[in-house]
């Protein structure tokens, strides 16, 4: 019995993955149908509000998967993944900003509004190229990836581990937050980038675009999940777990631990960046608040709540917590932090393997 269950986990398309993909596809299809074909006002109609909300959750889910990959399987507790998410978001935001063109409030064909506003005379060099979608998309991958690569290259090579690593990832996102707050940086300061109009020629406010973005996010989540699944099931994935559990042992049997960490960390950062890029057009704003270290801690908590080292757990955790947040903030505006804080404490104390771990155990007990 045990052997079979364990062997099953080694398949890329194991049962959990199959059901995850099935549910994701079903939700995507259902939402599209209910949004497009069921008339507004009908009880089954899925409003665009819900579509966007779901899209946002799926972005968070992808972000959580990326954190789970490094934390769950590699043992790196990154308290700075929010930074990669935000960088991806900024790259997309810059593209969307350039798309506004001369439709900004000042009607300047080249400069975004906030630059006109602060008397900038010309476009800073790093804004060039972002009017092209392919370039922006490249940057979505390149910027977080490169940062993660350089940061990881230094940190892993000098064997910074454990809490030290966690704290310097936190320092990284904190420093970036401070930097992006500065108006001189040319990223819109505290207000960030907003007032987007269209993406690749599609009106961002139209229902169809929103649905399209939602479907893209679902697709990205599906692909990202499968990529992670592939890594986890490969020998590299097993090396990663070995690094997590006994780092020096792994080194003694000849694995370059720093390189393993570096590549998985970089890949994870890229995934986070993609999640950020999909997030921005759906919520309509990116600002330095996304770099806030507290956000990065929250991501880790989603993973913990869902269940560490199970990719689907990260998805469940992200959706669950954010759904709770959406509901509680409308429902118990004065007391929702009690509820949220309580959940975190409860889960760590009583569900060490997260919600999915708990459900799996229940299921095993029944079987």
């Amino acid at each position: 019995m045990l052997d079979k269950a364990l062997m099953n986990d080694r398949l890329i398309f194991d049962k959990k993955t199959q059901s995850f993909l099935a549910i994701l596809t079903a939700v995507a299809l259902l939402v599209s149908l209910l949004n497009t074909f069921v008339p507004e006002g009908h009880i089954l109609h899925c409003s665009t509000f819900t579509v966007t909300l779901l899209g946002k959750y799926l972005c968070y889910a992808l972000l959580a998967v990326s954190v789970d990959l490094v934390w769950g399987y590699l043992g790196i507790l990154s308290l700075g993944h929010g930074a990669f998410f935000a960088l991806g978001g900024y790259a997309m935001g810059m593209y969307l900003m350039r798309q506004i063109g001369d439709r900004g409030v000042y009607g300047d064909p080249l400069l975004p509004d906030f630059m006109v506003f602060l008397n900038w005379k010309e476009l800073p060099w790093f804004w060039h190229g972002f009017d092209m979608f392919w370039f922006a998309s490249l940057m979505v991958i390149l910027v977080p990836g490169l940062l993660a690569f350089v940061f990881g290259w230094m940190a892993f090579r000098s064997r910074v581990t454990g809490v030290y690593l966690s704290i310097i990832t936190q320092a990284l996102t904190y420093a970036l937050q401070q930097a992006f707050f500065r108006n001189e940086m040319g990223f819109g300061g505290n207000n960030g980038l907003t007032d987007f109009k269209e993406i690749m020629g599609f009106d961002l406010q139209s229902d169809a675009t929103r649905l399209g973005l939602f479907l893209c996010t679902a697709l990205a989540l599906g692909l990202g999940y499968m990529a992670c699944r592939y890594i986890v099931c490969s020998k590299l994935g097993r090396v990663a777990v070995a690094v997590r559990d006994a780092e020096s042992r792994t080194r003694f049997i000849g694995y370059r631990v720093d390189k393993v960490k570096l590549w998985i960390f970089t890949f994870s950062a890229i995934l986070a960046g993609i999640a950020g890029a999909l997030y921005v057009p759906q919520v309509g704003i990116i600002n330095p608040g996304e770099f806030n270290p507290i956000n990065s801690i929250e991501i880790v908590i989603w993973v913990a709540v869902g269940g560490r080292a199970t990719l689907y757990g990260a998805v469940v955790g992200a959706i669950l917590i954010n759904y709770a947040k959406s509901t509680f903030t409308g429902w118990l505006p004065d007391a929702w932090l009690f509820a949220l804080g309580g959940i975190f404490v409860f889960v760590t104390l009583y569900l060490p393997k997260g919600v999915t771990g708990f459900l799996n155990r229940k299921q095993e007990q029944l079987a």
């Binding site: 490969s234 003694f252 590549w263």
Partner: protein, 276 residues
């Protein structure tokens, strides 16, 4: 710099690229008979001299036992050989060409030194078979690992080792669920998979039953010859059963060397062991 080297390599047609060359111990030169040279090694932690002017030579194919009271520096010595600790002074050579002090742990492992820890460290969240697969000699780069598939020969090799260490029935069990003795065996199995030239074995029989101990002794003896084996052990009976050559460490340097009988009759050794 490295780019220049690379171009240089491409121009020399008779040379094989480094990454195609069969790795592991290809550079190992044991023509002088010794596989390990430790010379004048000293290391201290917070003023405490863990190793003090240590000189040790291991011959190729030899089975050497190292004994010594607690704090004699046995584990620290292994740490130095495997690159975990850097000595303050002294030199450490693997064969006569490989300077161990210039390499880090994976490079040393790649060069052909395998190590079994005092406390059994296996990958507890992996299956037994995975543990062996991970330890298997071969290209261990990131990309290779990402696309690695086991060949039939490799599978065969794993089964062979499983047979040797007596864990054939536990192939698909989680390593973490093994008994203490089984973990010891698994770790030895992993060493075998690594196929090193030099094995460093730290207290291999702690927690084993007598039968298991005998089997371990047999295994280690059979390894000597093709491999060089260094065993650190407290259990004198076990040491007596395997070793023909014993080194006694005390306060970080070699106190005595010779056969078990010679060593046991050495007055200094007696004093160290009994005088305390």
């Amino acid at each position: 710099m490295s780019a220049m080297n690379f171009i240089e390599q491409i121009r020399q047609r008779d040379r094989v690229f480094d990454f195609i060359q069969p790795q592991a111990s290809s550079r190992l030169d044991v023509s002088h008979g010794n596989i390990l040279y430790l010379e004048d090694i000293s290391v201290s932690f917070d003023g405490f001299k863990a190793i003090n002017n240590l000189n040790l030579y291991i011959k190729e194919g030899e089975l050497r036992c190292i004994i010594g009271p607690n704090g004699a520096g046995k584990t620290t010595m292994m740490d130095i050989i495997t690159g975990k600790t850097r000595p303050d002074t002294g030199s450490a050579w693997f064969g006569s060409r490989i300077n161990l002090l210039e390499l880090d742990e994976p490079e040393i492992a790649e060069a052909g030194i395998g190590r079994k820890f005092q406390k059994p460290t296996v990958f507890e969240n992996h299956l037994v078979v995975d543990n062996l697969e991970l330890a298997m000699a071969g290209n261990k780069s990131v990309i290779t690992s990402l696309f690695a598939r086991l060949s039939a020969a490799q599978k065969e090799r794993i089964d062979e080792v499983l047979e040797t260490i007596g864990l054939k029935d536990n192939k698909y069990r989680l390593a973490g669920s093994l008994s203490h003795g089984q973990k010891q065996w698994l770790e030895i199995g992993m060493l075998l998979m690594q196929n090193p030239k030099l094995l460093l074995v730290d207290e291999p029989v702690a927690g084993m039953t007598h039968q298991e101990m005998d089997r371990t002794a047999e295994l280690l003896k059979s390894l000597a010859g093709q491999h060089s084996v260094v065993v650190v052990e407290h259990d004198m009976d076990f040491v007596r059963s395997i070793a023909n050559h014993v080194t006694v460490l005390h306060q970080g340097s070699v106190l005595a060397e010779g056969t078990m009988d010679q060593v046991q009759s050495n007055p200094k050794v007696v004093e160290v062991y009994l005088g305390e």
